[in-house]
Symmetry: C2
Amino acid sequence: MGPVLLTGAGGHVGRTILDRLAEAYDWRLLYFTEPTGDPPGPYVVGDIRDRETVRAAVEGCEAVIHLAADPRRDAPWKSVLANNIDGTHPLYDVAVAAGVERIVYASSNHAVGAYEDDRAPELYRAADDFLLDGTAPPRPGNKYGISKATGELIGRYYHDAHGISVCNVRIGNLNEDHPPVDYKRGQAMWLSPRDCAQLHDRALRAEYDYEIVYGISDNDRRYYSIERAREALGYEPEDNSAEWDGRERIED
Amino acid sequence: MGPVLLTGAGGHVGRTILDRLAEAYDWRLLYFTEPTGDPPGPYVVGDIRDRETVRAAVEGCEAVIHLAADPRRDAPWKSVLANNIDGTHPLYDVAVAAGVERIVYASSNHAVGAYEDDRAPELYRAADDFLLDGTAPPRPGNKYGISKATGELIGRYYHDAHGISVCNVRIGNLNEDHPPVDYKRGQAMWLSPRDCAQLHDRALRAEYDYEIVYGISDNDRRYYSIERAREALGYEPEDNSAEWDGRERIED
């Protein structure tokens, strides 16, 4: 396929994807600050809110993975408004005008975080069969979650109005190379690095219109359904936090 | 009940409510520009984005009807971002801190406007039995619609995090004292002035947690369900665009 723009290339998810898929795509990269090391493709440094920066980065691309955002779960309103909400609109607007065919958008588990308040910690038990799928309406758990659910809405608008394919990935916890040992919620929503890379790889290649999927590994403790990611994208997770590296599995 | 703050008091919906319910509540009013005439309660003039303005307006209130927004369906992104999205966050934030118990939020039919693209004009036929209820995920028809759906998300967050009761009213077309004669879509989503007043009156008095209802009259051509407004609020619309004032009913 044609060139793929990755925004937020210097962030944790961005580096995870580039580490494993450096050779798989003709990358174009957007960094907020000058990158260290040797980026695997031409890059632009600038602010995601700046239309000219985005225009320069997206030119000639067939697809975009949009990760650039303030990723802090406790980020204040002014920052998520500016970076995450206002930072997503020009990307869609410029991408549609430039003929981009699909956008893979980094949404978040925090877009539905408030569902947990009703049920945690039972929710995190392997025996609990409650699964949240992508059809449940957002219930943001924090202001970061509001901003991510709003990003899904912006994508919905651009899909309906302009036909661009959109896949929203409600990413779980990609915080370590192994799942947390004593933290059940973290085990429930662990996304292993290789599953993260595979999921984004599939999201760049599958055929779809507008999707909302959960980005987690095949964890016993999960309370997000991964069925839609399997069906719509062909996602086949290889990891399960319950089976990690010989550590004792927590029975619960 | 205690004082009720109405934001956007000088707008079309605000005037419609105040005209019919001037004596029913102890109003506090927020105007964007100095009001003409004799407002039916103490008022503040200022920008809805300014926390101090909102704090002064909301002090001592038990409930808020939040109408203040850029109401243009073709409003550009920068305006709906500032006035409608950033203009709704401080209201919730300040209201929760001030002990306000409920917020009635003026959402819009444009939050779900893109559903029409798939089915219009069949949708507007009286014989068509398709009804969109409040559980359907938003599909904004324009950037104004994105901003209104985001306002619903902000309310969802404040309800879940702070327990404030929230009723989102996806208001239809309150553009005339009578329904449009030759415009089927307008007949489908007409909200008569007295039904508008009744609906907001009920939304200020009913018991609920978090609701999304449609604000339209009992129109034959409607494609929004009004069942949830009936059930959750006790709304009993008195008008139907098909029966208005002896005009010939359009058979379709």
